[in-house]
């Protein structure tokens, strides 16, 4: 186990924290994607994809903080700025189910 962690570059308490946070984000992304697949309505999928954007922002933020690099910060800006366009478009044209 410890050899595997060392091989992954996990060598200190900070790295363990990062690993735990990354695993939590992975679980969160899995839950959100499951809801997006299950639905049952288009609005459920839109809400789930909005939550997925939040998970992505957290993941990119985690990466930027750990590596102390500013390379991924423009991605955060783009996600925050245009993430709502899809939701608004879908909500605008959501129609009643024709059964």
């Amino acid at each position: 186990m410890s050899a595997l962690l060392t091989q992954l570059g996990v060598t200190g308490p900070v790295s363990v924290l990062v690993l735990v946070a990354g695993a939590a984000l992975l679980v969160a992304a899995a839950c959100v994607v499951a809801r997006a697949v299950v639905g049952p309505t288009i609005l459920d999928r839109v809400v789930a994809l909005d939550a997925l954007v939040v998970v992505l922002v957290a993941a990119f933020g985690l990466h930027a903080a750990v590596t102390r690099s500013t390379a991924t910060l423009p991605i955060l800006v783009v996600l925050a700025l245009v993430g709502f366009v899809g939701s608004v478009s879908v909500a605008r044209f959501a129609a009643k189910d024709t059964q």
Binding site: V14, L17, A21, A24, L25, V27, A28, A29, A30, C31, V32, A34, R35, T41, L43, D44, V46, V47, A48, D50, A51, V54, V55, V57, A58, G61, L62, A64, A65, V66, R68, S69, T70, L73, P74, L76, V77, A80, L81, G83, F84, S87, V88, V90, A91, R92, A94, A95, K96, D97, T98
Partner: protein, 147 residues
């Protein structure tokens, strides 16, 4: 300086940790809650607070003026756009009858339109739209008959 840096690192880790935790809680809520409005309720919290915490954490960890400026932009954009999306999705859910009325304690939107909402939602969502925002009545949504 290094002591200050260590304190800032710990603060950054705490902010990022809480932000990640909020994202996880939102994901569980989106997966587990019963209808569109409750899932929206769960998903909208970290869209504001979680992103703010992650941005503060990144700013504290990277500690360059450029990074602080960029994460400030992220917070401003997110706080501007996330409520718009949530509002539109919630109104669309009500208009198209995706709301489970048996789960509602108070239905103020139905009271605004005068009377109880029928089973499939409001027949005319545009009545409320014209009441609350008259100058946008020329939009296609107000003229479109639901369904």
């Amino acid at each position: 300086m290094s002591a200050v840096g260590a304190v800032l690192d710990v603060l950054a880790a705490v902010c990022l940790g809480i932000g990640v935790l909020l994202a996880v809680v939102a994901a569980l809520g989106v997966l587990r809650l019963p209808d569109v409005l409750t899932r929206l309720h769960a998903a909208a919290k970290p869209q504001a607070l979680g992103v703010v915490l992650v941005a503060v954490g990144v700013g504290l960890a990277v500690r360059t003026p450029a990074a602080v400026g960029v994460v400030t932009l992220v917070v401003v954009f997110q706080l501007t756009t996330a409520p718009v999306a949530a509002h539109m999705v919630g109104r669309a859910a009500y208009r198209t009858g995706k709301v489970r009325h048996d789960l509602l304690l108070v239905d103020e939107l139905s009271e605004l339109t005068g009377g109880e909402a029928p089973e499939g939602g409001l027949p005319e969502g545009c009545v409320v739209r014209a009441d609350e925002d008259g100058d946008r009545s020329d939009e296609p949504g107000s003229a479109r008959a639901p369904g």
